[in-house]
Symmetry: C2
């Protein structure tokens, strides 16, 4: 069955119309909500302080207090406040919703309502809904063997840890894409709001199609302070902040104050208004019929919630203002264990929430409060979208073999490596028009993946100009996401994957460093989830790194940086994979494998320019399955022990290593050279260090125990040493790679400067092999002359010698 | 002489008052400016295409065309337009100004006016102001051995390459800080404006003190397109964009159109208005007397320049719209070499600028045009602020010895390592109140550097609340820069250093990855400047990485990432330095050295918590001078060949390695252990690979040729292998470090999980030394028991055993 581009329309829910205008809560309801919120605040404080006496049924004493007080109180009450109010909306409208806490360090404010609505106990039965369960729930917080103080993967309902700040909104939008029925509530801390990634991610609403996508409701939480400082947005004039939000394309609604009951009233009214607005936008967009390609960007509502940091906590401690000040950031009464007054103040604070009114004799939340929360999968903590693997359907994949390039003879013809991948992606897109997207910062065409636009164009919801018709490839229903922000794209993609869908991201090699830190955090998330049985596996994050270091003729030195791989290899081996396919068919085979995989970050390095082709599809599949191997057609060691091993890893280094091999074989036909190509970089690691690692026996079989190995690598050469230092023959590994020797160069000149060129490699071999010392002298001279000629030609004409550009494998 | 905090007031120039309202240009002047601009556009196009016939004195033919057409035309005309108009302002007001091109890939539009005002020829005499010089100037562009197509360091007047997008505004603000007389014009591309770092950097104006700092005039250049896409900000409604800019705190002025003469008129009027506004803000702030601490944030003017991409270039090529569309991004007539029609079109285009009216017989710009540019150092390309090393004064440094901690016995007392550094920085600040600043994302107090606030507080120009008095440490004249954006801080610091000043940046270890990419770009800039004799050396970028991986009790796994060092070591060895001082005195000595150095990025890793102290100041200085060495007091090999070498690198790993040494010596008094500490990480590299690298002889002398070396490292362990793989004894190096085994842990539990703890190290030694195999068996058992006890205690009480926390060196 092939899906048509119109398929999505089947899944559009009509907006619920009148239902959006549910009655506002009366004062009884608000009082109950306040009680629910007090229960949340009580739990949030309790988990920071208490290891015993969880319901304060006894007078508080030191025995009840944790030995080490860890956690973040400041953002917690505000987070719980939003959560409780969202519960009312969910119940009133049977609305599917999830909750992202930008201030992940306010996890107590999220964990509390998650526990109170029962999900926590369902997943972790020993954290049951009773006094003993509560005690255990408190104790595990920020405690060895327990859970951290952010919304870590162990948190039901979380798809956003918030340990590193800046990505809450982009994660939220990633979750909302292609989920028309979903409402994603995202609380943005005013600290986080100062980061660059967050600042630009407000523009995400320009990429939300109100027909086929869900809604995102951001709540900018101005609690006023970071660790030690006021926040910028909390101290600018009201009108300036409103102008900023309107300028970003949002309709701001303000909820400001500190009196709980007044704030409940305002929040409820505001949330009703925002919800009605969201539904009205959707209704208006969807009621005209599902004309996806006529959708327009909407001005969505957002909320500015200004409430005190550490709201309802101690107002003052030791004469210092705490509530509503930065001193409420972590543990507001830090001296509880040493200072009896602090202990008394803590008890008074905890009792101010009146736990005896909130929990029954067993320690369960009072039934009338429990009734305020939604049930089953309407609970934000139990919504399957936040455990996206549950909803994940495998990609419908065409057979990648049918995109094969015919390669009758290795090393002769040229092709752009990424273009056929674009064709493959196009057809994958065609079969998965509701759960697959392609991401790239203004570069999918530049990266030669433009074939995809035949099936789905670039999403564009702003105004159109007539000239856009001429190759603009824009459409309101496009599924290719392009914005010049690697941060935002990566955030969208992560949010999309974490909610159970599939994606593919291509980006310039040098600038993938922009998201080093996001990669780190996602890899850490995946690593932790390996040990969380209830988290269903999600699709891998597939990252194509292209426009690589060796082809930067337009751009020069700033665009030369293959070091992302060095960042990647530091992460948990169970979740990282690195591939450097050298040609079209190996790239197709690799991409096919990656797109089917789960719970990894797959990094594929492939340049976008024209390159020599080596393997037909059968050979490519065999080669990629092994991950590395001898290319017999380029070797003449014929199952004997070779005199020299030549290795290529990466498209351009492979070509130069082959050319070096040819130069050597032409001059020294008796020399036995084994040629190895490496696609799966982590095969080089020992098997104990990575699931793909080769056994020492296999490694030695390939790379020999004692022959010189000239290893021509795509990236920084030291990385190969780092992967192979424990191997038998490591001391004979001579690695060439990029060494920051660049400026504005022709490709060959750049190769020569960094010593990955054919001449340097061949000369290196001659120098290292004793049997060539004498008879090789004149060859070496000739190769040096050729190298100089290459340089001179580049300097004179600005291009490489045609015979360099057009070189083919001669045998 | 000690400077007082008030010193800055001496340097404040009174605002020039009436001078700000110079007469608007008449139509003759505008015509001349247009001619000047046409000359710029002609040059910009010429450098992309021409290798001969630079003045079109002959009919254009293929011989005149470069073999490879490289470069970016699209942004060039707009950049030159702004440059030419700024020249008028500079001349009219004798205003010191510099120019930053956010779209660095529009370098032709900058190089052109730089050449026309004569600076280029002064610096590069063979690019003289005549036909032959012009030919050479054209040819070198995007040509091997020449210059790249961004505003690379070779560009006179550039402090911002623009190869990676996002940092133009933060660089501009860094340049303006403490330069009250300087006006920094910064063109922001609408592509760049989509990046996160740029999006938040608009807030920089909230950190500009109009009394002591200069002004920044951003020109948001809406040329409408990126490589293949429209830009977001060019397609949102006018009012929305105005609202965004007002929300960011700016006063937007719009210059929109495509008719050159109308645009000249509008731009001139607008620039006059903006300049008058800037001067009026400064006058108002400064005239009340230099009350730095009463300054307020101003609403500064900015310009939105909407002009066609590739303005004045080919309107249409092969039936496709080019001018005003993304097809103008790089080379608009790419088929010139193959297609005679393209060649004809190119000739018509170039002749449309009427070069014969612009250049005299010699090929020099006509004198009446030349007169439009300012002269000498008022030329933006020759302003010394853009070659900041020329203006750099050495820091006045107190003697760091006077901050020494008294350490009578190694390994016994405890102190916070970073606090005394804060005291040292405080006194440096006091003596350098106009050219030194300290940067940190809301973390200088968290990082225990708060002593500095006694001399200079955190800069804050927004509203104040009464509670800020209680430890807020805020002031309008503060010199400590805190904003929750590592990007913005790094950008400010780079701009500050590049204009000849000094700075110090402290940040959390895990989140320094946020600026990996900025580090890469700055290191590349420094690397290139090593070979540019006219660029005077600038101060090093000093980066203190603290709140490290091993002490994340509050924050857990997301905050554990020591991998920045792996990024750093990939860059040019001539510009990178890495230090891991283990205690207070080594940190002081290291910081003293770094603050005096030039043209490096110095990375210092030091945790902020309480740690054991090892060296008195004399020993610390000796140790840091060597960079690594044997700690005799912890060793018992007494100049003999040891049985085992134990190495610590980093504060916590050093403590654990010492404790392991003590455990071994207690159990096996006859075992000869050599204890080495490494401060200067790159000493481990061979001398041929880094200026600090040890000779093999020295290395072998320290680490032996054949003894087991247990190396306890702060970061990812593979990094040590990468640095030492070529050493004689490398196969005996057993490196321990962080391996991503973290969650919420006590410090000891985290150490055990990652095998850097004393027990693992000692057991490892026992296992490796044949002589301990038998007698060591029971010791090994005991150590394992102790390790288990540590874990159990952590799991039970949430804290480490007191004897672990309070361990001291026993001998």
């Amino acid at each position: 069955m092939t899906a048509s581009p119109q398929l999505t329309s089947d899944r559009i829910t009509p907006a619920p119309g009148l239902q959006a205008n549910a009655a506002p809560p009366d004062s009884e309801q608000l009082k109950a909500m306040d009680a629910y919120w007090r229960a949340c605040c009580y739990l949030a404080a309790g988990m920071i302080y208490l290891r015993e006496n969880p319901l304060l049924r006894e007078p508080l004493n030191l025995e009840h207090i944790k030995q080490r007080l860890l956690g973040h109180w400041g953002a917690s009450p505000g987070l719980a406040f939003v959560y409780v109010h969202m519960n009312r909306i969910i119940k009133a409208h049977q609305q599917s919703a999830i909750f992202l806490a930008g201030p992940g360090h306010g996890a107590p404010g999220v964990l509390a309502p998650v526990y109170l609505e029962g999900t926590y106990s369902e997943i972790y039965p020993n954290k049951s809904e009773d006094a003993e369960g509560l005690r255990s729930f408190f104790k595990q917080f920020s405690f060895p063997g327990g859970i951290g103080s952010h919304c870590t993967p162990e948190t039901p309902g979380s798809i956003h840890e918030g340990g590193e700040l800046g990505y809450s909104i982009s994660h939220a939008f990633g979750a909302a894409l292609d989920n028309p029925d979903l409402l994603v509530t995202v609380v943005v801390g005013d600290g986080e709001a100062e980061t660059g990634p967050l600042a630009t991610s407000w523009h995400s609403s320009k990429f939300l199609n109100p027909i086929r996508d869900g809604a995102v409701l951001p709540v900018l939480h101005l609690n006023g302070y970071k660790i030690n400082n006021p926040t910028l947005l909390s101290r600018i004039p009201h009108e300036e902040l409103a102008s900023l939000m309107r300028g970003y394309g949002w309709e701001p609604h303000f909820v400001e104050g500190d009196d709980p009951m007044t704030m409940h009233q305002t929040m409820a009214t505001t949330l009703d208004a925002c919800y009605a607005k969201i539904r009205s936008i959707q209704q208006q967009a969807r009621d005209g019929g599902p004309l996806l390609n006529q959708a327009k960007r909407a001005i969505w509502p957002m909320i500015v919630l200004r409430s005190p940091k550490g709201w309802t906590g101690p107002k003052e401690v030791d004469g210092h203002k705490v509530e509503g000040f930065w001193r409420a950031h972590q543990v507001p009464l830090a001296g509880v264990r040493e200072n009896p007054e602090h202990l008394a103040q803590l008890e008074a604070w905890l009792r101010s929430y009146k736990p005896e009114e909130l929990f029954d004799a067993e320690g369960r939340l009072m039934p009338e409060l429990k009734a305020l929360a939604p049930t089953s999968t309407l609970r934000m903590s139990a919504n399957p979208h936040a455990n996206g693997g549950l909803l994940r359907r495998s990609l419908r994949m065409p057979d990648f073999n049918s995109y094969a390039l015919d390669v009758p003879k290795p090393g002769v013809q040229r092709a752009g490596n990424t273009y056929p991948l674009g064709v493959f992606l196009r057809d994958i897109m065609a079969e998965n028009m509701t759960n697959f997207r392609v991401f790239g910062p203004d570069e999918n065409s530049s990266n030669k993946l433009q074939a995809i636009y035949a099936v789905s164009k670039k999403l564009w919801l702003e105004d159109y100009l007539p000239e856009d018709e001429d190759g603009g490839e824009l459409s309101p229903d496009g599924r290719v996401m392009e914005m010049l922000s690697e941060h935002t794209l990566e955030g969208w993609l992560e949010g999309y994957l974490l909610t159970g869908r599939h994606g593919f991201f291509s980006t310039y090699e040098a600038f993938v460093h922009v998201i080093d830190s996001m990669f780190n955090q996602h890899a850490k998330w995946l690593s932790i989830t390996q040990d969380i049985p209830w988290r269903a596996p999600i699709s891998s994050l597939n990252l194509l790194i292209t426009s690589t270091v060796w082809r930067q003729d337009h751009n020069g030195f700033t665009h030369q940086d293959p070091g992302f791989l060095d960042v990647v290899v530091n992460k948990d081996p169970d979740v990282i994979r690195i591939y450097l396919p050298p040609d079209v068919n190996t790239l197709l085979s690799t991409a096919n494998h990656c797109l089917k995989s789960r719970d990894y970050v797959n990094v594929i390095v492939s340049d976008k320019q024209q390159h020599l082709q080596y393997l037909d599809m059968d050979a490519a599949v065999r080669h990629c399955t092994k991950g590395l191997g001898i290319w017999d057609w380029a070797s003449n060691d014929e199952d004997e022990e070779p005199d020299l091993v030549m290795v290529g890893c990466g498209d351009i280094p492979t070509k130069e290593a082959l050319a070096a091999t040819a130069l050597l074989r032409e001059s020294f036909p008796e020399l036995k050279i084994r040629f190895i190509n490496v696609v799966d970089l982590l095969r080089l690691l020992p098997e104990r260090e990575h699931p793909h690692g080769l056994s020492d026996r296999d490694f030695d079989g390939l790379f020999t125990k004692d022959r010189h190995v000239i290893f021509n690598f795509h990236g920084y050469p030291w990385l190969i040493h780092r992967l192979t230092y424990a191997r038998t023959n490591h001391h004979n590994f001579h690695v060439r790679g990029y060494k920051e020797k660049g400026n504005i160069n022709t490709p060959m000149e750049l190769a020569i400067n960094n010593e990955i060129d054919r001449y340097t490699l061949a000369i290196d071999a001659i120098n290292r092999l004793p049997e060539l010392q004498v008879k090789g002298a004149h060859v070496r001279e000739r190769l040096r002359d050729q190298q100089i000629e290459c340089r001179n030609h580049a300097y004179k004409f600005g291009i490489d010698l045609p015979e360099i550009d057009n070189w083919t494998w001669p045998f």
